[in-house]
């Protein structure tokens, strides 16, 4: 006798979230051979988090961002961060209208649905700080006037880890506002072959990459659905234990903040959603632990090993105490 359900571990309502599958397909087409990165990006998008892509040049960071922006169907803005970039160039600024004799606010690129901050570490900390409020509260305040951003505002920042001249490392406050830090890495041989084959003749253009998958407001609905994913108290205790473990670990100088804990839970919910499960398990928590902790923990070297130690030090709850 087999239990009457559609598929082990999958919830019927969630399995039918077809836009997610389409979105996954489009992003996998744009960035070949990196399905795990795509999953993280999707989880981050659904969890209303922001992503910091840290990798070498030419690995597809911008391509991924543009494909994502096109797929979610929102406004896309790109900021090439340079040392002479000013905060107003991001948030926008007020100009005096000669006709109306009033100052009018000219919104900056931050008012897009998907903002690509390319080479974010090349701009000054002053300009970097312009994103603090936008990323955390989804609003900007200019001349004491609050300007709300899109509900699906999503920042995808990139930075180059190998160049240090003329760069300004992101402060901890800025890092803590990112949900996760990802490295794309080089694609495998097969993916590179496909990439080359696609480029022959027709160039790099692929119609699927620019397709809009989600209707207006649909992303927000999905994000609300993710926020409603059930998290058992035992799993929340597990999250808290992990957070406390980051604060007492000898090799970590800055432990997990409560904001980081909230983001971790939200991303774990999104991960469970992507897996078609209506509740969060410790597997989800562990699966997203590395990109989430890597961006915000003060680890001098080998963060992956430290995160592995943290996960190994906390018992997974299974049986009721």
């Amino acid at each position: 006798m087999t239990m009457t359900r559609t598929q082990p571990g999958k919830d019927a309502r969630l399995v039918e979230a077809r836009p997610i599958q389409q979105l996954r397909h489009v992003l996998n087409t744009a960035l070949r051979g990196k399905p795990e990165v795509i999953e993280y990006v999707l989880a981050c998008l659904l969890a209303r988090g922001h992503i910091l892509l840290e990798d070498k040049p030419g690995l597809g960071k911008t391509t991924l961002a543009k494909a994502l922006a096109a797929a979610v169907g929102g406004r896309f803005a790109r900021v090439q961060c340079t040392p002479d970039l000013l905060p107003g160039d991001i948030t926008g600024f007020s100009v005096f209208n000669q006709k109306t004799r009033e100052f009018e606010f000219q919104p900056g690129p931050v008012f897009a649905d998907v903002l690509l901050a390319d080479e974010i570490n090349r701009t000054t900390p002053r300009t970097q700080s312009a994103l603090l409020e936008a990323m955390a509260e989804r609003q900007v305040t200019v001349d004491n006037v609050r300007h709300p951003l899109s509900e699906t505002f999503f920042v995808l920042a990139t930075q180059n880890p190998i160049e240090h001249h003329g760069t300004y490392p992101l402060p901890e406050a800025q890092l803590d506002r990112f949900a996760m830090k990802l490295s794309i890495g080089y694609p495998d041989r097969q993916s590179q072959r496909e990439l080359l084959a696609t480029a022959v003749g027709g160039g790099a253009f692929h119609p699927e990459v620019t397709a809009t998958i989600l209707h207006p407001g649909q992303l927000y609905q999905l994000q609300q659905q993710v926020a409603g994913i059930f998290v058992a108290p035992a799993v929340q205790d597990y999250l808290i234990d992990l957070g406390e473990q980051t604060r007492i670990h000898p090799r970590i100088t800055l432990g997990l903040s409560p904001r980081g804990l909230l983001i971790w839970q939200r991303v774990a919910q999104a991960w469970a959603f992507l897996k078609g499960r209506p509740f969060v398990t410790p597997d989800d928590v562990q699966a997203v632990a590395e990109p989430i902790l890597a961006v915000r923990l003060g680890v001098e070297a080998a963060p992956a090993a430290v995160i592995c130690e943290i996960l190994s030090a906390v018992a997974v709850p299974l049986y009721p105490k």
Binding site: R5, F279, P282, D283
Partner: protein
């Protein structure tokens, strides 16, 4: 984890434990001396511990104590309790319960010292040694104890300094060596809620058991308090304490009431202290006109005599303030003693009352012996009296045997003593002229009509093995040295017949013990003890009737027959009447053997050449006190007893052993079967408990295969590791899905019924059985 450089600290721990070991040994002995057994045992113990400490496998990567070491330590703790019955069987001696427990702690401490490479063991060993020293200080007052305490203080201070310096060294090394800090394990401190709960529950259970449990349990628990010294009611080897032992205590214990050696024996009609109290708090006490009793002297008198106040006379003795006045004139003897004498010491024991020397054939009765002319008693120190031996002590005697005979209700002035007496003492009756001989070997109080109840007679007597006696040890007729003795007299009317029987029984055996033994063996083996059998009234010679016709009779006929037969063989023999303390009557609760009036017995005695009377036993069922057996023979007897016991209970023992073997062999399967049945009977109140219970059993089965789930691993990851990349098992995958839902999920989807879940869990348990997991051929699939 113990750092390197703790060798000196571990050595100091051994020294601490050695001092504590010696101190406990000293305090266990009232004289403050070390027994050879304790010394040799201690040497063996410490030598073994040092070897273990040297060669025990220790890895710095394994900071926790191995499980086997924990098991060994637990066994060491309870080993003395388990070995005590066997030691009691072999040695005949034992330890009180609190000393057994202390022995367990002592051995545990040595075991901890042996495992001192692990820091918790090192610290626990120090604590155990301190506990032992505190126990010794609280319990013992022997002379060496202050010296041992001083030595412990010195070594303990050194131990503390070494412990501190090793910690400082380790910290300094951590700070100066790069990367060492990473080795520091941060342990999150927590309140030991579980441990405290268990401790509180155990305490409450002990209190409940004490208050509402059986009285025996209450007494046993009370005996675990070292200061109580034990009541002796449940353990014959419980130590003396306040209100116990030779000191005064109320109750029917033979070791207590009335048997007070610290009191003086006086004879007067004046009111005693008890009478004065009766006068004050109740109706006046009217003592009988003539009273012999033991009364406590005044405190000043006691201090003068003893130097310091005895325990029983200290002002702190309890006095019941709720005492009510006696309703009637209670007599002191209102509680009747259970016997005439209480014997403390090894039995069987023959206590002479009357010695008979000549036999009258006309009346068929024995005539009492004569009273010795000389006292043959001289005083020694400490109230001891020594019997003057007419000849030098000969070499066939074994080590002297000590007894304490406590007079409970003797109607005569007899001083009860064993045979072959060498020394005796009644405290404060310290002059030879206080004693006299009623008969040869029968001691009595001179000038008194009866021996007061409560007198304690301490004695030392000789023992010997008659089979090792040389032929010359038996006195020959006419060498008794006293012309009045008629120890070889056999009536003429009986002489021919008796002599014929004696010669037939003795055969051609050499003179001496072989002939005597032949006579005794014949009587013991071919004749029957029958107390109701009596000779016909018209029979001229009852002893002949016994020997020739009936071949059964009471013990006096056995004694008479043996005496006349041996006299016919020219051995000086007499017959004695007295009390026989039978080993079967030994009361382990009081550690005494009561002798009742029904224990009157008649036996013959043969005169030895040193003028000692050797007790012989022709009566079946009666034995003579022999020498204490050496260790080897006692051990051999114990082994024989054990073998005999095993043979008698061979069926039950075989079944028990087989059952134990089968249970041990199949323990995992049996336990698993029990768990599954428990799960089936009590699956839980909700579907979540059903699933989690099933998962727990499944996880436990894999633990047996060392594939248990690490605590940090999730359920899905664990099951995936079991599959080892093989194709996913559908049943397991569904169970994982159910388990995750049960552990972390919201309410169950309506598409699933609890009955269906339970059926699925049962199917998984039936599929993934222990035997399937044990099969190596399938390991590739499951691992």
């Amino acid at each position: 984890m113990a750092p390197d450089g703790t060798r000196a600290l571990r050595a100091a721990t051994f020294v601490l434990m050695a001092i504590a070991h010696v101190a406990v040994e000293v305090s266990s002995n009232p004289a403050g001396l070390l027994s050879w057994f304790g010394v040799s045992f201690g040497i063996c113990l410490f030598a073994t511990a040092m070897l273990v400490s040297r060669y025990v496998p220790f890895s710095a990567n394994q900071p926790h104590l191995p499980r086997w070491a924990t098991l060994v330590l637990a066994l060491l703790l309870i080993a003395p309790l388990g070995l005590e019955p066997l030691l009691r069987r072999v040695t005949g001696n034992g330890q009180p319960l609190e000393l057994q427990m202390v022995s367990g702690v002592r051995v545990l401490g040595v075991g901890l010292a042996a495992l001192a490479r692990w820091a918790p063991c090192l610290q626990l060993a120090g604590v155990v040694s301190l506990f032992l020293l505190l126990f010794v200080v609280a319990m013992g007052a022997q002379t060496p104890i202050p010296w041992l305490l001083a030595a412990y203080t010195v070594v303990g201070s050194l131990w503390l300094m070494l412990a501190y310096s090793s910690r400082v060294r380790f910290t300094a090394a951590s700070e100066t060596t790069p990367g060492m800090a990473t080795a520091v394990e941060r342990v999150r401190l927590r309140f030991p809620a579980w441990e405290m709960t268990i401790l509180v529950l155990l305490t409450v259970a002990a209190l409940c058991l004490t208050v509402i449990g059986p009285k025996r349990v209450t007494i046993a628990l009370a005996e675990m308090m070292p200061t109580s010294g034990g009541t002796g009611k449940t353990d014959p080897f419980a130590r003396y304490g306040i209100g116990d032992g030779p000191e005064e205590v109320a109750g029917d214990n033979a070791r207590a009431a009335g048997m007070v050696e610290t009191d003086m024996m006086i004879e007067d009609n004046k009111n005693a202290l008890l009478d004065a109290i009766n006068d004050m708090y109740g109706p006046p006490h009217r003592p009988p006109q003539k009273l012999q009793r033991m009364v406590a002297g005044g405190i000043a008198e006691i201090i003068k005599m003893h130097g310091k106040l005895p325990q029983s006379a200290r002002p702190s003795r309890d006095f019941d303030t709720s005492r009510k006045g006696p309703k009637s004139d209670k007599k002191l003897d209102s509680h009747k003693a259970r016997g005439v004498i209480e014997v403390e010491g090894r039995t069987p024991l023959h206590v002479r009352l009357v010695a008979y020397e000549s036999y009258d054939p006309d009346t068929a009765s024995w005539i009492e012996g004569h009273k010795p002319a000389s006292r043959l008693i001289e005083a020694e120190g400490g109230d001891w009296m020594r019997l003057m031996q007419p000849k030098a002590s000969v070499g066939w005697y074994a080590k002297d045997e000590r007894h304490r005979l406590k007079v409970a209700d003797l109607k005569t002035n007899l001083v009860p003593t064993p045979t072959l007496l060498t020394r005796f003492r009644i405290q404060r009756v310290d002059r030879p002229d206080y004693y006299e001989w009623n008969y040869d070997g029968v001691l009595a109080l001179a000038g008194r009509t009866s021996t007061p109840p409560g007198v304690v007679v301490s004695t030392e007597c000789r023992t010997l093995d008659p089979s090792r006696l040389p032929a010359s040890a038996i006195a020959a007729v006419g060498t008794s040295g006293d012309s009045a003795l008629l120890l070889d007299e056999v009536p003429d009317a009986l002489h021919r017949q008796i002599a014929q029987i004696a010669r037939n029984w003795a055969g051609d055996r050499p003179r001496g013990w072989p002939q005597i033994e032949a006579v005794l063996n014949t009587l013991r083996s071919e004749y029957t003890l029958d107390r109701a059998a009596t000779a016909p009234p018209d029979h001229p010679a009852p002893v002949v009737w016994f020997l020739v016709e009936s071949r059964r009779g009471p013990d006096y006929l056995f004694a008479t027959a043996a005496a006349l037969l041996l006299r016919a063989l020219d051995y000086p023999t007499r017959v004695c009447l007295g009390y026989y303390a039978a080993p079967e009557a030994y009361d382990p609760k009081t550690a005494h053997t009561p002798v009742r009036t029904t224990d009157l017995h008649t036996w013959p005695e043969v005169l030895l050449c040193d003028r000692q009377w050797l007790v012989i036993e022709p009566t079946p069922g009666y034995e003579v006190l022999g020498p204490r057996l050496p260790w080897s023979e006692r051990a051999w007897l114990a082994v024989q007893w054990l073998g005999l016991w095993a043979w008698r209970h061979s069926v039950a023992l075989t079944i028990a052993v087989l059952a134990a073997v089968v249970i041990t062999w199949k323990r995992h399967g049996i336990l698993d079967w029990l768990l599954v049945w428990l799960w089936r009977l009590f699956p839980g109140r909700s579907w979540r408990e059903v699933v989690l219970g099933c998962l727990w059993i499944l996880e436990r089965r894999h633990r047996r295969q060392r594939r248990c789930r690490p605590s940090h691993q999730t359920l899905a990851a664990w099951v995936a590791s079991l599959n080892g990349g093989a194709s996913e098992d559908r049943e397991l995958a569904e169970l994982v899905w159910l388990g995750e839902w049960a552990a972390y999920g919201p309410d169950l989807p309506t598409s699933l019924a609890p009955a269906e879940i339970r059926t699925h869990c049962q199917r998984v348990l039936q599929t993934w059985t222990l035997s399937r997991l044990n099969q190596p051929t399938r390991r590739g699939r499951v691992a």
